[in-house]
């Protein structure tokens, strides 16, 4: 569970606006569902935060609630003036985190 995937260009022009697409496999358990066999409520467990940093500075972030679908998909835009590393971090309510990195070269 919870494998992040990122799609972003390898090379961009300085100041060019480009799209970053992200997906992480995660059930996003709402805490409202019941187990069909036992009838017990399945405990809530969601990703409540997603942060995108470029060269250490926050570019974009999401505070997500249970209404975000399973396998959260976030696509956003950004621009860069010099090459650097895009670092994406997903955090589960339990405190568990996942991250992905992608080098972007500014031509």
């Amino acid at each position: 569970m919870a494998k992040p995937r990122v799609k972003a260009p390898d090379k961009v022009k300085a100041g060019e606006i480009f799209e970053v697409k992200t997906l992480i496999s995660h059930k996003m358990e709402t805490g409202l569902r019941k187990d069909s066999k036992t009838g017990e409520t399945i405990p809530r467990n969601i990703i409540d935060s997603f942060v995108a940093k470029f060269n250490g500075a926050q570019v974009f972030a999401v505070q997500s609630h249970a209404a975000i679908s399973a396998n959260p998909y976030f696509a956003f835009y950004m621009k860069a003036n010099k090459s650097g590393e895009l670092e994406l971090t997903w955090r589960e309510e339990t405190g568990k985190t996942w991250s992905a990195k992608k080098t972007i070269t500014v031509e």
């Binding site: 409202l32 974009f60 999401v62 997500s64 209404a67 399973a70 998909y73 835009y77 860069a80």
Partner: protein, 158 residues
């Protein structure tokens, strides 16, 4: 004889109609998460973002399907008109679903390095309802947009 039958029929229909109305009213009164309750939740959730300010119409364009067959994954996107400069940019966009058990969907945070205040994601919708986007600008101004989505199969587990 004929008259009597006619009377009886009317009497039975009236009884059925009356009983249905009573049952419907009872259902509305007894529902803990009835419409009034959900509406209050939405107002509270929106107030946590807007404070006492009233959002203006415009600048925000919110895209959602008119009919969502599966409420478990409803794609949505938005874009906010803004120069996205260091002094004039969109700080955040908050999304609310008026008819979900909890109206909060997500808050998207932007910076001047975003270049464009736009994003794409997918949400759960429990039933047919309005989805609301409120954009918070760097100068504190608020703008909002609203879309109605018809949901065929609700998605919130259960």
């Amino acid at each position: 004889m004929t008259a009597k039958v006619e009377l009886m029929r009317v009497g039975r229909r009236d009884f059925v109609r009356g009983a249905t109305a009573v049952a419907a009213m009872a259902a509305i009164i007894s529902l803990p998460g009835g419409p009034a309750h959900a509406e209050r939740n939405l107002q509270e959730a929106m107030k946590s973002v807007t404070g006492d300010a009233k959002p203006m119409e415009g600048k925000v364009s919110l895209t959602l399907p008119e009919i969502a067959e599966n409420g478990n994954t409803v794609p949505f996107s938005f874009t906010v008109e803004s120069p996205m400069s260091d002094t004039d940019y969109v700080k955040a966009v908050h999304i609310f679903a008026s008819g979900n058990p909890r109206p909060d969907v997500a808050s998207f945070m932007f910076s001047p390095a975003s270049g464009k205040a736009a994003a794409n994601s997918r949400m759960r919708l429990a039933k047919t309802q309005d989805v609301i986007a409120i954009a918070q600008m760097s100068d504190g101004k608020l703008y909002m947009a609203k879309r109605t989505v018809k949901v065929t199969i609700g998605g919130c587990g259960g």
